[in-house]
């Protein structure tokens, strides 16, 4: 925050940094940010919930993001998501109850040349079939076949 000179317009930058450090934005953290930038807490909450990038809940130990951009969609990303949802038992956007895996979809990660793309723990992987994705995610779940 110091780096941004406590400027109110740097709220989004500060939230990015906070999420990077703590993994998600809980109420105490948002309260602290609001106090430091001298903003109403409702403003911080409003901004944090407007942008999809911010999480108000902790994420799983692993994350799997399926790109659902147009190019990926026409090449079958929806089937990848369906397979993963079935395997993990949670819907996209949720985390498994044991906190092991967060499943998410992305609007477009700009990797349309290698569609369908899936990001496993930050690593973009090209041309994923439902079987590929399941193989990757099952290892994380711990009850791998």
């Amino acid at each position: 925050m110091k780096r941004h000179q406590f400027r109110q317009d740097a709220l989004i930058e500060v939230l990015h940094k906070a999420q990077e450090l703590f993994g998600f934005l809980d109420s105490d953290l948002m309260h602290y940010v609001a106090r430091s930038l001298k903003l109403p807490t409702s403003r911080v909450y409003g901004v944090a919930t407007f942008y999809h990038f911010f999480n108000l809940k902790p994420k799983g130990a692993h994350t799997c993001v399926v790109c659902m951009g147009t190019a990926c969609y026409v090449k079958g990303a929806d089937q990848v998501v369906a397979a993963l949802e079935q395997c993990t038992g949670v819907r996209a956007g949720e985390t498994t109850p044991d906190g092991k895996v967060s499943l998410a979809t992305a609007r477009c990660i700009g990797a349309c040349g290698i569609a369908p793309a899936v990001v496993y723990d930050g690593v973009v992987t090209a041309r994923q079939s439902p079987a590929d994705a399941l193989a990757n995610v099952k290892g994380w779940l711990g009850h791998a076949a």
Binding site: I12, H16, Y51, A71, V74, R107, C108, A115, A126
Partner: protein
């Protein structure tokens, strides 16, 4: 930094050139297929073979054929190797000695490359995006120097106006006019914003430009700052593009060190700073006023225009907003002259356009072609048509704001007006090809889902209308809809298009309208027969109550 320094850096950089250069693509597409590992392996192999004096391994930006990555281009032989794995490194090196190898070679003379006219992408794949010297060696920052030393701000604006450059973000607003409006305002504080919130699904042009040639964008922005009298610039980049952010940060640092950014650019009295603002996952922030709200650290909700950003934008000050590709067009216009630029393209659409070619097509990747190139040349000649015996059914341009152009209109030249006539838009340049297996109603539903989820929620037609449109499309897909639902769909499209507050809502119905226009039969064949009229009943009163009458004949959902 003076002209002499610039020339010195260029000469030093050119003198560093070795006999062979291996250009490894390190743009996002290739990196996600192990591009970095390939480069590291090549580095090692060069060391191991003792060829360090002869061979340079250079990480570069996008080499275009994103579907075939990782890519390595070899100079001066002009060979492009594709789908290279790290273990291929020694074999690839041996080809420098004239040995043959079974490695997959791309043909740089293939139509995919031959029809391209790289202008925005001229350095992309050649310069090392992490080294400013590499950009300077390609005459980088020369345009900026010339502008600062030889041109008055109004002359710069007039050069851009003369070039006929139009905004590459989608709407095609004349860039010179925008610059002139901002320059003419009375305010003493003005801002320049680069819109790098490339949110269209299926578009990765701006990403490639930022990752391949970040200095080019900075240079365009600094020139713009000088022309409109701004001292502060912002680049608004999506958080989804970490590599682009990293390279931009690096580029800004280098430019500052060299005195090309900051106070006294090129030792002139002109000061200019650029800060990066990172988006946080909101498509609507591609809209100018929403983007500015987001830069100010607020919820990215658009506000009504007027006032336009050019009069009252960021922090209430006049603000110039252009997108990445628009700024990247600026340096060559300055260097080669507006007349040269205006000689490319069509009557109303000048210059070139970068497209991201993806979907059901043989060759996916990044292309840059002169405006006016027929769609057929792009998707069939360059892209090689649909894969494996497929038939191209339609080409989707403009993302969720655009439309689907049917195969029967493939001879349309690609320019702003022609695409608008077909109910689509140029958009930022995503081009998704669909083949006969693609269900057009589902495509419309897909885009409507996107708009529904990305609607900011401020105005009623977009917030609530997209929900209902999506529901109606899903109902049609599920074969549970009747003709009345289809009428209702069209009526809602009309409402959302004409009453929404910002561009997102106003264009949200486009994918539905264009598929209804060209693929109506796909909708009709899914409809249920209308509810049978009761056998004993005459038709309901034909005369609709007049407008003032509040009782209207009902309709089933």
């Amino acid at each position: 930094m003076l002209l002499e320094d610039l020339i010195k850096i260029k000469e030093a950089e050119l003198a560093r050139r070795k006999k062979h250069t291996l250009r490894c693509c390190l743009a996002a597409g290739c990196i996600s297929s192990q591009g970095q590992a390939v480069k590291d392996a090549l580095d090692q192999a060069v060391q191991a073979a003792g060829l360090a004096a002869e061979v340079e391994v250079r990480g570069v930006g996008c080499l275009r054929l994103c579907g075939e990555g990782p890519l390595v281009a070899v100079d001066p032989d002009g060979v492009l190797f594709q789908k290279i794995r790290p273990e291929d490194a020694p074999a690839l090196l041996s080809t420098l000695q004239g040995e043959t190898s079974p490695l997959d070679r791309g043909d740089l003379q293939s139509p995919f490359f031959k029809h391209q006219l790289p202008l925005v992408l001229e350095n992309s794949g050649l310069v090392d995006p992490d080294r400013i010297e590499s950009y300077i060696a390609a005459d980088g920052y020369l345009a900026l120097r010339n502008v600062l030393r030889e041109m008055a701000p109004p002359e710069v604006v007039s050069a851009i106006t003369k070039s006929g450059l139009r905004g590459r973000g989608g709407a095609g607003y004349p860039t010179g006019l925008k610059w002139a409006t901002v320059a003419k305002t009375k305010s003493t504080r003005r801002f320049v914003i680069c819109n790098a919130d490339e949110g269209d699904p299926g578009a990765f042009m701006d990403r490639s430009v930022l990752e391949s040639d970040p200095h080019r964008v900075l240079e365009g922005m600094i020139v713009a700052g000088y022309a409109v009298g701004a001292e502060q610039g912002f680049i608004y980049v999506r958080a989804e593009y970490p590599l682009a952010i990293q390279r931009l940060q690096n580029a800004i640092r280098q430019a500052k060190q060299m005195g090309l950014l900051g106070s006294g650019v090129f030792e002139s009295p002109f000061n200019f700073n650029i800060d990066i603002r990172i988006g946080a996952g909101a498509f609507v922030c591609g809209e100018e006023t929403a983007l500015m709200a987001s830069v100010e650290g607020r919820r990215g909700q658009p506000r009504p225009r007027p006032p336009f950003p050019a009069e009252s934008g960021l922090f209430g000050q006049p603000t110039l907003i252009n997108n990445v590709e628009t700024f990247a067009n600026v340096p060559p216009i300055i260097l080669k002259g507006p007349e040269w630029f205006a000689s490319i393209g069509t009557d109303k659409s000048k210059g070139t356009k970068v497209f991201a070619l993806a979907g059901k097509i043989q060759t996916t990747g990044l292309i840059e072609v002169p405006m006016g190139t027929p769609l057929r040349v792009i998707v069939e000649t360059m892209g090689g048509g649909a894969p494996a015996g497929g038939q191209i059914k339609a080409v989707q341009t403009g993302g969720p704001s655009g439309g689907c152009i049917p195969a029967s209109h493939l001879d349309t030249p690609v320019d702003y007006e022609s695409l608008t006539t077909l109910g689509s838009i140029m958009g930022s340049g995503g081009m998704i090809v669909m083949d006969q297996t693609t269900d057009m109603v589902d495509v419309a539903r897909f885009f409507m889902e996107f708009c529904r989820d990305e609607s900011c929620g401020k105005c009623v037609p977009c917030r609530a209308g997209t929900v209902q449109l999506h529901e109606l499309l899903a109902k049609i897909l599920a074969r549970q809809a009747t003709q009345r639902d289809l009428d209702r769909l069209e009526e809602l499209c009309d409402l959302v298009k004409h009453t929404s507050l910002c561009g997102l809502g106003q264009t949200a119905p486009n994918p539905v309208l264009s598929t209804l226009r060209f693929f109506r039969h796909e909708y009709l064949e899914r409809l249920q027969p209308a509810h049978p009229n009761p056998p004993s009943a005459p038709p309901t009163p034909a005369t609709q109550p007049p407008n003032t009458a509040p009782v209207n004949p009902g309709a089933p959902a």
